[in-house]
Symmetry: C2
Subunit: 296 residues, 2 copies
């Protein structure tokens, strides 16, 4: 593969391989890491995500329990199920697949998960610790991005790092991660969003550009400088009659025009996506390990 490509698929597989060994270690101590998953409704994308997370867990030796509920379920029942997982010693990580139906309060639901089982890193307690620079569960996509940069020797220290998008699961936690005073962080971070005036002014100055807006191919070659490192978090479906499924996945970055100018770039698919899932497994294994360390 071209050496400019930040190959998250291959690195993701490598990490998942290395997790197998850590799982074996845990098993030899009598602990099998376990992930509890809650899926509400039948959103096709959510069903696919949950299936692939389950499969990935099984391959790594992580035990999973998935509870599926109809979309009409009430909050109380979901909270009860989360509580069962909270109290279940076999479960080290809990994942509530988003989005939830509109009548379920997402924020309220996510904070029912015990912070020490919050392997998605969405609990305010864990996000607060992330802001403070403390050890915690970091949300999987930001964590995967940092691991990918580390692997390829891309150190954000001192670099103009421009994050496009301020979502609670990518932009905000990633910004908080990258400004920390520590190795593989220490970046000068700018967060841009829909209200930013003249976004090109910012993208053109980026040494590292992280696109997480969820808008198909909006970043073009003439918006970046030569030598930029591009991390494309977008996973947008665009209709393509020639594709097998009738659509294809594209990023927030127009690959064809940005690639020639970039020093390094993540492809879509095969860039950030596979890293996210690897980090979910990694957080689950870490949770089981830390429980053993604490003698639990």
């Amino acid at each position: 593969m071209n050496n400019k490509i930040l190959d998250g698929k291959t690195l993701g597989m490598k990490i998942r391989e290395s997790l197998k060994e850590r799982v074996e270690q845990l098993k030899s101590k009598g602990v099998t890491p376990g992930l509890g998953v809650i899926l509400v409704g039948e959103n096709p994308a959510s069903v696919i995500y949950v299936n692939s997370k389950e499969k990935a867990c099984q391959k790594a030796g992580i035990f999973t329990i998935t509870r599926r509920f109809p979309a009409e379920i009430d909050e109380k029942t979901i909270f009860q199920k989360i509580d069962e997982f909270n109290n279940d010693d076999r479960i080290h990580g809990i994942l509530v697949q988003l989005p939830l139906p509109p009548h379920i309060n997402e924020a309220k639901t996510l904070r029912k998960i015990l912070p020490e089982k919050d392997v998605d890193g969405f609990h305010p307690m864990n996000l607060g610790k992330l802001m403070l620079g403390e050890e915690t569960f970091v949300p999987c996509t930001p964590l995967g991005i940092v691991e990918l940069m580390k692997y390829y020797g891309i150190n954000p220290e001192g670099k103009n790092t421009v994050i496009l998008g301020r979502s609670n699961i990518v932009g905000k936690p990633l910004a908080n991660l990258l400004i920390q005073k520590r190795e593989w962080s220490n970046a000068t971070v700018t967060v841009c969003h829909t209200k930013t005036e003249n976004i090109t002014k910012h993208t053109k100055k980026a040494d590292i550009l992280i696109a997480a807006m969820g808008r198909a191919e909006i970043i073009k070659g003439d918006m970046v400088k030569r030598g930029v490192v591009v991390i494309d978090v977008g996973q947008n479906k665009v209709i393509d009659p020639e594709a097998k499924k009738g659509y294809r996945l594209v990023g927030d970055v127009e690959f064809s025009s940005v690639f020639p100018k970039a020093k390094a770039i993540t492809p879509v698919p095969g860039g950030v996506g596979p890293m996210t899932i690897a980090m979910l497994l990694s957080n689950t294994v870490k949770s089981a390990e830390s429980k053993i360390e604490k003698g639990g």
Copy 2:
């Protein structure tokens, strides 16, 4: 006063006046807002801060209890005292004056405070909610800065807002506050710090420049563009034999050279400092009000 000056002293007093009315309202419902303060050791600056906070509370009609401990006190005793305040219905806000002596773990101490009494906004739970854009106690200095900008009609929406410094009490929470998708936020925020390469490149592009590094007069006139709004969080002592106390307070900004280029600027003293203390009182009153709303 010059209309370029963002006069935090006068606004702080105004806010404190308006709090009096809210306190009277609360008292008419049988509730006197109460602040519990913990002061460890005899750090002269801390003693002065605690005294002035107590006085400001009393003037606003807020009841205070201050527990003073010698520097040699153990963590356990402090935790017990925090717990007493947590369980004391008369206390709506708890403040642990920082810094604590080195043998006391600050992070661990601060998270003993119940999040709903954490009027300093330093608990990870409250910082996480801040990151998520939820209603919470916002740390007093960032909150005071936003209130000051609001009062003077300086809307950061879409503006290049450069924050110098990434402390847990100013830089990080302020960045998280200003990037939120809501009125009087929506800023394009860049966080610079000691590892930033070529800091002048960033300061020169700032529409709004917030200096919170704690380094005396480091930002000079030739580092900013004409028309910049400058918020100076620095409170640095410099030796001055002509001053009554033998020193004077200066900001992180060299006022004499920046003032002529600025559209608006906070003085030091009399800018951000008085806003911080007003916000502490405001958060305490808010805590008492929200307790009544919850019927507690």
